[in-house]
Symmetry: none
Subunit: 250 residues, 2 copies
DNA sequence: TGTTTTAATGCAATATTTTGCTTTTTTTAA
DNA sequence: TTAAAAAAAGCAAAATATTGCATTAAAACA
């Protein structure tokens, strides 16, 4: 029997059952287990199946795909930004945290020794805040967007108009640049405007990589922002063009 | 059996029921509990589920707060109740789903072929609803309670006063009886009242075991309820005393 | 054709992984 | 707090992988 035939059979078997044992294959193909092993290894490196201990599984079956591997990328930067943002907080501050992964990181990193009242529109952020004993969390209600997991629309905007917070922390967008152009609909933009109006000071959390991309400030004008935080030191050359009296860099 | 198969089964089980016990998995998969534990641990670190003491819960269900390892028990009954509840739904119904594990189960089981507008006060329920393409979700804002993960207080009550839904589905309490006496504070009771007032029909989802406990109807009077659903058939002897013209049993 | 080179296969010795069991530590519920 | 349940850690047996090597088959070439 040709190697080609064997491998073909192996692939068929894997496609059919989603999984196979090397021992079964060896018996079925009437070759040694070593040969099967080598075949499977080859098919694996050709990405035709996934070899696992004791056998092989089909590509679709493979556990390798972590669910929603939300941007594991630039996590370091996001943490660094969020860390800086916490330095603005004082005891009993009233703040608002927007959605997006950077903001979520901020929610995670809120210091445990400062009492805060925290508004949010974001379901994941709210979840995170609930685990903080020192944070009183108020969710701004409204119609929930399926992709951003954020409350928005007329209802949310109205609720926002009723409050005034010391700081609101907003991100640059809900969709990571890696996934394609970030397009914002009318609702998103209006809601973000309402957030800004509900805050005495607005802080933009922004990874430097986005500073010069075409996604830049799709959501809001720079002059609506009081403080911008990137992962870079404030005197970094890349930030030169943002230095002015209006905008505080951190 | 390959490790991959086992883990696949575990994931299926978790997705299906939202939660599983390690002991059940061990029996079902016919391996030691250590093996199951190791598998679950692995899946957890791959962010495919969340491991909790004694079992695992699905991602959407995850009480990221270490708060309470929500009742992995009496799941069957809850599913049965939730299943019955779905029979009340019609296309384009506007409903409200309260918090608690039974209500969460209802959110999970909402049929995919019926378009719904769904209000909720519960963070976990909202999370679940977001995964349903046919459900428009509106979150009722308010101060979030750390243990029940529900919006409540004046804000929530006011928001509730603005709406009217066809059905609201409420549970008996947020804490399972097995965990001790369920004590409700003023806020909880007021909020639940507001829920009832916001609905044309109120449906109580109630495990029969609670019918004769001292926790019975701490939250609301029976005469505020239009329909009561238990896991038992409506003509079951235990339900005899609830039969009257006011209350519809299902 | 006969010889040389290369690839494929099976085997055996040696690692590595997986698994269940036991003991100890931690967590949980009452 | 105590007692029960669950998790963690360590260990040994079993299953599976890896590697080197010998044998055989196939291919290349004069």
């Amino acid at each position: 029997m040709l190697k080609e035939e064997r491998q073909h059979t192996i692939l068929n078997e894997v496609e059919l059952h989603n999984r196979v044992l090397l021992t079964d294959l060896a018996e079925k193909l009437d070759v040694s287990i070593d040969t099967v092993r080598r075949d499977v290894k080859e098919l694996d490196s050709d990405n035709r199946l996934v070899k696992v201990h004791g056998g092989a599984v089909s590509l679709g079956f493979a556990n390798h795909s972590p669910q929603r591997n939300n941007n594991v990328y630039s996590l370091e930067e996001k943490i660094s930004i969020a860390q800086k943002a916490t330095s603005l907080l004082k005891d009993n501050s009233v703040i608002l945290i927007d959605g997006g992964t950077t903001c979520l990181e901020l929610a995670r990193l809120l210091p445990a020794n400062i009492n805060l009242t925290c508004f949010t529109l974001s379901l994941p952020v709210a979840m995170e805040l609930l685990s903080k004993p020192n944070v009183e969390t108020i969710f701004i209600g409204g119609a929930l967007s399926k992709d951003s997991q954020i409350a928005m629309g007329a209802n949310a905007i109205h609720n926002l108009s009723q409050i005034k917070v010391d700081y609101s922390f907003i991100g640059t967008g809900y969709v990571d640049a890696a996934f394609g152009l970030t397009e914002f609909d009318w609702d998103t933009v209006q809601t973000k405007k309402a957030v800004i109006q509900a805050s005495k000071k607005t802080v933009l959390l922004c990874i430097s990589e986005k500073l010069n991309s075409q996604h830049r400030f799709k959501t809001c004008d720079l002059n609506m922002i009081d403080t911008m935080i990137t992962e870079l030191p404030p005197d970094h050359p890349l930030l030169e063009s943002f230095k002015n009296q209006e905008l505080f860099l951190l």
